[in-house]
Symmetry: C2
Subunit: 157 residues, 2 copies
DNA sequence: ATGGTCTCCGATCAATAAGGTCGTATTAAC
DNA sequence: GTTAATACGACCTTATTGATCGGAGACCAT
């Protein structure tokens, strides 16, 4: 349960790869193309391409067209959070269906629902966790870091 | 993203209802049947029945057959965690596909994956959160409680 | 004890989303 | 102009979810 999609998985792998190539010690600043990533991690090429296009559309990476083209991070690795990556691919975080309902529409006709509030607390906690982790935390050159833990306090009803 | 299924949603509502009826002030010890819950929350009857059957099979509730039958909590409300409920319906918690792989099978042929370890940390953190919340935290008679926040420390690689 | 009712239970079906594929257009380097 | 790369859109295939149907078993009243 609570599984993230494979597309999101691919996005994380790809960004981790781009980040380590771009900011690593070996060949800093290099542009990396789709094929390279697909072969490295055995990801279907066309599917990965779609994922990268989505990431580019959401301004997480920049695309360079033509020969010797490829993708480059749009920001520094520590400025790209895991939450941003996942939300780019899978849409906004939402534990339940009623998480992002506009006013006027309710989940189950009438507000008999007593579990909404506590579930939203859980959701916030997860959101804080994913927002506190960045791409840099997944890079090879960063052996050990400490991440501020989320807090869920005051769950009512 | 990270949305839980409607079945799990129904399970939470149903258990919350059973718990408040059983341990609440109004009619303590009462047995509650599927139809009552379905009508109260506008849940498809047969689908809810299946959910409750699953919960009974996982020993979270006890089923009483025949007229005046229905369901009763198998344990006290504070001994049933949200994680147990969700896992009963949706299977074990797993952010990625490679979360519960038996030895021998790897996600993407070979272990080039650099995101596995940090993702497992995220998963553990969510698991701790869901295990720290119980049904009691969702009951009406419990206005305000404090939940121990999960900790993610030492994300490496 | 036996009929009738009420419940749980198992198998089945339809809708939706995910995962993956293919072909073509567009862009930039040489 | 040719080549090599991304961009874009349509399509298919499969798996999961959501929902439905009919029957089996248990309890209570008579």
């Amino acid at each position: 349960m609570l599984k993230i999609s494979k597309k999101a998985d691919y996005a994380l792998m790809a960004l981790q790869h781009i980040a380590t190539v771009q900011f690593g010690d070996v060949t800093p600043g290099r542009v990396v193309n789709t094929k390279e990533i697909a072969e490295e991690y055995n990801i279907p090429l066309e599917l990965l391409a779609k994922v990268l296009q989505t990431l580019a559309k959401n301004a997480l990476i920049e695309s360079h067209n033509g020969p010797k083209g490829g993708y480059v991070l749009a920001r520094r690795a520590h400025q790209i959070t895991i939450a941003q990556i996942l939300e780019s691919i899978e849409g906004p975080l939402g534990i339940t269906d009623c998480s992002h309902e506009k006013d006027g529409e309710f989940c189950m006709q009438r507000e008999n629902c007593h579990i909404r509030t506590p579930l939203l607390k859980v959701q916030d906690s997860i959101a804080q966790l994913l927002n506190s982790m960045t791409l840099q935390d997944m890079m090879g050159g960063t052996p050990l870091i400490t991440i501020q833990s989320p807090a869920v306090q005051g769950v009512e009803r």
